[in-house]
Amino acid sequence: MTVAYHRKPVLWDIDYAIPEGQLVGIIGPNGAGKSTLIKACLDLVPRASGSVCFYGKSYRQQRQLVGYVPQRESVDWDFPASALDVVTMGCYGKIPWCLPPRKKHKDAARHALDQVGLSEYASRQISKLSGGQQQRVFLARALVQDAKIYFMDEPFAGVDAATETAIVALLRELKQRGRTVLVVHHDLQTVPEYFDHVLLLNMRVVAAGPTSKVFTQENLQKTYGGRLTLLAEAAEAIARSGQG
């Protein structure tokens, strides 16, 4: 798979099979294409080439199996909605067009809020939640989707310690229930503790595999230390030819 913005490739020839039932950390420097990778998998940005398969079928056919937790900053938290409203949105895919959510959906949402420790905040307006609580609302929303594979874009960014602990507990529980979770992650220190697998990314897959084998000084050096100059130059050249 290759993804390009304005003809400039940001991800090159990604060829990766997600290990089932594992917690996978996607690691890489800023601009490495981590979020883009997720968005390209979910058809949120167009791919220049290549394909993504979920259990042998295209994403369109397998939507129900895939859950997505976008970055917290991607939405307007001043929107007039309560925490329960936002979590209930996770069910909208299962409700036919034009029909309102029913009691069972609200109950599922309440249960999910309970799982992330926010049951008391169900009716609170979302702008009055702390950053960590907002992140947990997003996770609860992913939980009610009841997907088999989850993509989470920086769920640990800027959250308090209580939320971080809650998220880690949740990730482990998801794994126990046989779910696969891919997490874009920034804090290198916690990688070995949180993830079974890592995907080291910098415009291409630098290394991927079990954390114990792949998460090495050498691989990190390759991922973070200096851009792959040839790759970057080639990308520039392609972008220029597009304008010319």
């Binding site: 949120l44 895939v66 997505y68 939405v75 007039p80 909605a81 936002v86 909208y92 895919g93 034009c98």
Partner: protein, 433 residues
Amino acid sequence: MTEWSFVDDWMVFVGMLAAVSCALPGTFLVLRKMSLMGDAISHAVLPGLAIAFLITHSRGALPMFIGAVVVGVLTAVGTQLIAGYGKVESGAAIGVVFSVLFALGLVLIRQATDHVDLDPGCVLYGNLSQIPLEAIDGDIPQAAINLGLALLLNILFVGLFYKELKLCAFDPQLATTLGINANLMHYLLMIVVAVTTVASFEAVGSILVIAMLIVPAATARLLTDHLGWTLALAAGLAAGSAVLGHVFAFRGPGWLGFDPNLSLNTAAMIAVMTGVLFFLAFLFAPRYGIVGRWVQRVRLSLQIIREDMLGLLYRWNEHRPGEAMLESDLMRAVGRGTLARFALKSLLSRRAVERASTSGILLSAAGAVAATKLVRGHRLWEGYLAKHFNLPLDHLHEPAERVEHYLTDELGEQLRRDLGDVGEDPHGRQIPE
């Protein structure tokens, strides 16, 4: 003075239809931070109208709506394309598209008016006062029918797609991954806005329609944090503006002492009223209004001064049990001022303190209970700070002075558990029960 007649009834009714139909899709424009898009579409549909007019040579509703919808969608698409590929931000993209289309519309309309009767001024400013003339023979004016249909369309649109509109407004990416096409919803909304603005042209014109789209929704946002209520309030405020607008246009000059036979432009007055209501909400909305916030701050300050006074009296009594404190000393200790006088008055009226003699203030039994709780919280907090923060003793009082006003019973209990049964604060003063 002119009498209120069926003409006025119709003007209010048509004004209300226009205002309410605009407020519903307008709410979603505001929530999606696309208010300018409403402005753009209301102007850009002009060439659509003109072309439909030039082709069919009629002012029939259907060709007008088709022309408007086509150009409305083109505006939305064009804006997105230019913002995506033109290296400009979306505001500039909107500006490029709608001003050019609007100008084109003006040119075409001039062309059209040479052949048939179509007044550019009417398109810009509307012609609300002319609409009821059609009703003289007991007919329903065409504009009222068009607006009624537009309102029905908007109620159906918002009612049926409430869930989808909500999700796509809040998080279009999630909507897309859930299989709800956010792009489709975007264009549906644009179509509805285009239809609504065209239906409203005859009543209020293409310039004032933006006030109807945006202002009631913005006002409603100040009043509630619930989407359903936002929509309902926006519709209600829009209807209210229409009534107030016409009443003021009709009677306002007389009330202000001008010639009572003079009446103002109702459509403009409706728009002015939406602004007046917004301003009122801006000032007086319970939670987000300026006055509301100010009142909350003053209340909090008063409460803090009252509690400081109780705390002072309690400590005074620790050394001199049963003795009254001089009023002047008490006032000086809380920094005097008007608020302090108010605070003392309210304490007296609540019988938390009483006057012992002409210049002495004494804690009452009820006041002593409240004061004990405060001082207890204060000293527990000092203990907590000393235990965990490694602060010097003389740095404990001030933070505790601030926090004591916010300590609930539950927090106090947690502090006590954290500290164990120490019984004394770090300064060696007793922590009262």
